[in-house]
Amino acid sequence: MPIALDRRNLDTWQDPKATPYVRIERVSKRFGEHHAVEDLSLDIFKGEFFSLLGSSGCGKSTLLRMLAGLEYPTAGRIYIDGVDVTDVPPYSRPVNMMFQSYALFPHMTVAQNIEFGLKQERLGRGERAERVDEMLELLRIAELRRRKPEQLSGGQRQRVALARSLAKHPKLLLLDEPLGALDKRLRENTQFELVNLQERLGITFITVTHDQEEAMTMSTRIAVMDAGQIMQVDTPTAIYEYPSCRFVAEFIGSINQFEGKVVESDGDQLLIETRLGRPMRVRNFHPLALGTPVTLAVRPEKMRLCLDYREDGVNQLRGVVEDIAYLGDVSIYRLRVEGQRVEMTLTNTQPRTEQVLTWDQEVAIEWSPTSAVVLTE
């Protein structure tokens, strides 16, 4: 899984006294009959690196464009820094955007592109030149200053676009798939750079992405969207470990699901009877009535081989290895357990030739009650 960044001092959203920097209040956007965004509310705090994550066409760009003023909501209000900007045109908003296609001006050099926004402010010539130099320096593209966009590589264009959107020192930067056009390697390097930049400048970032790993690596918080609505807003860890619903659980990573109902509730643990006919124990923080139909979800890497399998064991299953996918660092094993597919990921601590599990082998697996989550919707 992605390496988490040090975010220890940044959890402003947990402070009940903090006022949100961006407040999206019951915003809807319709294109004709199509609801791109529907009754969506969201608070984003100062200094956050906030990601909107969702599959294609779920309304991420539309939401971002409404923050930039390039699209106006059909209903609802948007506040930035306490000011209602719902009807404010883009050129009067204290916000800058980095476009997915970069949208660099083809008739201007790199330096002129960066200077473009500064010319709209009442800045002197010297001050503008200083700011341009600062940006060129910051993104390490000084040697490109006289080039035209068509003479740049994809990665260089991305830097110029970023420099241009940062040049006006916005308090809020919107990034629509900032790394979308880069190859995998460059992406990974740039992810860290982007986060470092954001922390150094203290700007609030809102990015759009449909790459979950990217969102996990960079964000303070993630909003998972589906069909114009937000399914869950939380830190990357919480989104991964404690998804609030089946959509989020399935969207991020892969997960095993066992359907069943609550048969016993004791303290912070539930006993769930699943269709597989065995009781499963899981830690739970929300009270659930007996008999409630639930889904028990366990990540594949939370499974482990079971050495003391018992017929009535809790959180234990026995199945047959159906498929093995060797990925180098880990292997994914697909097991068939009483007609249901179960996925398990094991770290390859041994060379492949010496691995214990092979096709058609019968294995027993187990997981700890704290490793599973209960989903009710």
């Binding site: 003023g69 949208a103 473009f116």
Partner: protein, 305 residues
Amino acid sequence: MPAPQDNPPARRQRLSRVVNIGLPYLWLGVFFLLPLLIVLQISVAEPRLGQPPYTPLWEWLESGVLQIQVNLQNFMLVWEDSIYLTAFLNSLWVALVCTLLCLLIGYPMAYAIATAPPRWRIPLLMLVILPFWTSFLIRVYAWIGILKTNGLLNHLLLALGVIDTPLNILHTQTAVYIGVVYSYLPFMILPLYANLSRLDPTLLEAAADLGCRPLRAFVRVTLPLSLAGIVAGSMLVFIPVVGEFVIPDLLGGPETLMVGKLLWTEFFGNKDWPLAAALAIVLLGLLVVPFVLMQRLERRMEDSA
């Protein structure tokens, strides 16, 4: 490693380059340079009665002497007689004014078509092209009916009470402007449309995001990016209008002295082919100058931008 130009693909590439560059040159040579040389030859001849109605450039005399006769008097005449100079200046002036008018009217139209909803674009373009389906001559004649003293326009204005006495428009320079702008507007609109429709709308969004109001975004982004279209459209209007003959002849009056008309008179009226050819050569020279200037301007814009 052998030298790269020795392998077959390189040779094939060279061949294709020769064909690529050679064909247009061949075309230009046969259909442009050759006729030009013929006109040049006529311009330095003397008029005479007979077929052809001008003296040949060279002649073998019986004594075995090759006699080459170059007569520069036509050019001297064009320079000395002020009527020709006036006609040239007037033509350039009319062409300039009409080009600017076409640009002023055509740019907003091209912009409107390029930014219209996609399903509207083709019908709107068709409307621009539609007049071409009628003969040019007939359309210019139609303007006589509109502009004459008891024509459509005057009837309308009188009926509306805008004027008390009919306007005298036909057979004035104004009528020429109206006719030329009407006839050449599509040549301005089409290249501008082609250019503006390729403009990426997210560039304007980026400009707005960086603080530009719509008008400033237009000046700083749309206008410079459509410069190529402006130049192309202006050339397509300016160059033919300088030599335009039909419109000044039909709609213009005695004071509309244009080169095209003079040329026609010399050629068909006075049967003075050499003088007409000399006028044509000077006209061509005059047209090359703005062309070169335009091109240089464009290159400078590109370099400095």
